[in-house]
């Protein structure tokens, strides 16, 4: 008598693989609906030269057409020249209009009064300055800013609060970074952008994975299990590295506040967002 092993040993979270054709249709439909509802036809996309903004640009171009997308490059004087070049590759591939706004004078203007600001504070000033520029240009072009934050960085709190996360429409926020890479390949984002190490480019040589202490591939796997209701020790039993699980858990559970609006003191039985509840599109 032969023993037949089970097809599935243990249930797990949903796969990280995505149907890229389906996701493209889904997100293009989302963008068209959101722009239509808000009565906008044009988008401004901050184009950093990284894969997230490239994918957001490709999706916006598909949803709205090349004439309705303006890519905004916003380098600081220490930004890598490569980032600017890679942003140009996307702009050229899409045939969209672009603007380049050097944020150095504005950022340095403030920092002359705070010369002791460390790298983290300087990075936050740059991120917030970019949003000032993006929102101002959105008013100039009667356009809506498109967000580019992915699910991994949102779950890690790896963004500047009320800066990178502030655009009102974000097609990528429920895609892990490894899923953004899958989508980028499908959309035809230049390989050089997909294959380079992800970086916020706030300081020279900085990489996301270096900042995290874990690769996106491992982080996404662990996040996917944790978000699906598995406890850290259950992941360790399944062969995940204890220190990596703890690193991810810590980042996740210490940044819930960053994914929320400001905390408001509740005094009445009609507090907004607590008792008085209306959806964003109502």
């Amino acid at each position: 008598m032969e023993f037949i092993l089970p097809l599935v040993e243990r249930a797990g979270p949903p796969p990280l693989a995505i149907d890229t054709t389906l996701v493209t249709e889904w997100l293009v439909s989302f963008l068209r609906a959101e722009f239509g509802r808000r009565k906008f036809t044009k988008a401004v996309v901050g184009m950093s030269g990284g894969v997230d903004s490239a994918v957001a640009g490709f999706l916006a171009e598909r949803a709205l057409g090349p004439r309705n997308v303006v890519a905004i490059r916003m380098p600081y004087r220490t930004s890598s020249p490569e980032s600017l070049e890679h942003a140009s590759l996307v702009i050229d591939a899409l045939g969209v209009d672009s603007r380049t706004i050097d944020i150095s004078p504005a950022v340095d203007g403030y920092l002359t009064m705070e010369p002791g600001a460390d790298a983290s504070r300087r990075g936050n000033v740059m991120a917030r300055m970019r949003m000032i520029a993006l929102f101002d240009l959105s008013a100039k072009y009667s356009a809506l800013p498109v967000g580019t934050g992915n699910k991994t960085e949102r779950l890690f709190g790896y963004f500047t609060w009320h800066a990178d996360d502030s655009p009102p429409v974000n097609p990528l926020g429920d895609l892990f970074k490894t899923q953004v890479w899958q989508l980028a390949r499908h959309l035809g984002v230049p390989d050089i952008i997909i294959n380079k190490p992800a970086s916020a480019d706030l300081t020279q040589g900085q990489t996301d994975e270096g900042d995290f202490g874990i690769s996106y591939a491992r982080a996404d796997e662990i996040l996917n299990w944790l978000l699906s209701g598995y406890e850290p020790d259950e992941l360790v039993v399944r062969g995940f590295d204890t220190s990596e699980v703890e690193l991810v858990r810590k980042r996740l559970s210490s940044t819930h506040w960053k994914r929320k609006l400001p905390t408001v003191a509740m005094l009445s039985p009609t507090a907004i967002g607590e008792s008085y509840l209306r959806p964003v599109d109502y």
Binding site: L22, V23, P279
Partner: protein, 313 residues
């Protein structure tokens, strides 16, 4: 076909909270739908089709009575059409000082609409992306009802995820179960079934419709809402399953669509003759009811046999 039911499944994208605007669109659509040959006997619309689904506290502003909703639909119908048609449509209902997620079955074309049945959603999803129980109350029963062409029942969205509800409707004589739904797309991973495109949740829906239909030898008509509501996409994918579990028609993803389909009600007879599962169930029902009562008693609940049954636990 000796007993043909001509159906138009209308996969509609409502403008959020815009009752007059949506009714105006119905008025535009009715002549188009009714102009087809064969002329539809029944127009099937989705859950909360009058206002959109995710209203939160906006339910209080959007709700109306079934008769008012049916009369509004009647006005939209009569603006461009003669004759009569039946309609199944979901809406937020205000009934006896209580809010429900309901669907009405009404005959349009007269001076006022004739409401034949109102189903109040029994199973209110309150998990994940859903929060229905916070804003509306549970319906308490599932019943079939007579129409001009035969006997029907309505289940709304999660109602049909529980096998027992379709069983109750089929035992009560339903030939067609209408399932107005508003199911946000979830699950972007690749699916093994090449025939059905779409999110994982859509695959689950099609499996459900086919299984419920085949188990009971009935038609199951799932009409999905379509469109985006604040980042939540209703992908469409409405589907009609025949009494042998076969797919009769399927709507596209993402877009509005009208699915005209003629159902041969005699297929129900043929399917039940080949696979008399419903007859078997009817035979064994007294025993199963006893088992249900025992199971309920063991959980501390009681099944009240009075006119307005409610399980208390």
């Amino acid at each position: 076909m000796s007993h043909a039911l001509n159906l138009a499944v209308v996969q509609f994208q409502p403008n959020k909270g815009d009752r007059p605007g949506n009714l105006a669109r119905f008025a535009e659509l009715f002549p188009v739908i009714m102009g087809r040959t064969p002329r539809p006997d029944v127009v099937a619309l989705a859950e909360t089709v009058l206002t959109g689904y995710f209203l939160e506290g906006g339910v209080h502003e959007a709700a109306c009575t079934a008769q008012d909703f049916a009369n509004d639909l009647n006005g939209a119908f009569r603006a461009g059409c003669d004759g009569m048609v039946d309609v199944v449509a979901g809406f937020y209902e205000l009934h006896q000082n209580t809010y429900y997620n309901s669907a009405v079955y009404a005959t349009l074309g007269g001076d006022s609409a004739e409401v034949l049945h109102v189903h109040r959603k029994v199973f209110l999803p309150t998990y994940g992306v859903f929060d229905e129980e916070r804003f509306v109350d549970h319906g308490l029963d599932v019943r079939a009802f007579d129409t001009r062409w035969g006997r029907a029942a309505i289940l709304i969205c999660e109602d049909v995820w529980h096998g027992m509800t379709a069983t109750a409707a089929a035992l009560d004589g339903a030939q067609v179960i209408f399932v107005p739904s508003a199911s946000p797309a979830r699950g972007a991973w690749p699916q093994p079934d090449e025939e059905v495109r779409g999110p994982a949740s859509m695959h689950r829906w099609e499996r459900l419709a086919r299984d419920r239909a085949e188990e009971h030898g009935i038609y199951v008509v799932v009409t999905q809402l379509v469109g985006n509501e604040g980042g939540k996409a209703f992908p469409g994918g409405s589907v009609v399953a025949g009494p042998a579990g076969d797919v009769r028609t399927r709507a596209p993803l993402w877009d509005e669509a009208v699915l005209p389909v003629t159902l041969d009600l005699d297929d129900i007879t043929r399917a039940r003759a080949r696979s008399p599962l419903l007859a078997d169930l009817r035979t064994m029902l007294p025993h199963l009811v006893r088992s249900l009562k025992q199971a309920a008693a063991e959980t501390g609940a009681t099944i009240d046999d009075r006119a307005n049954p409610r399980v208390r636990g």
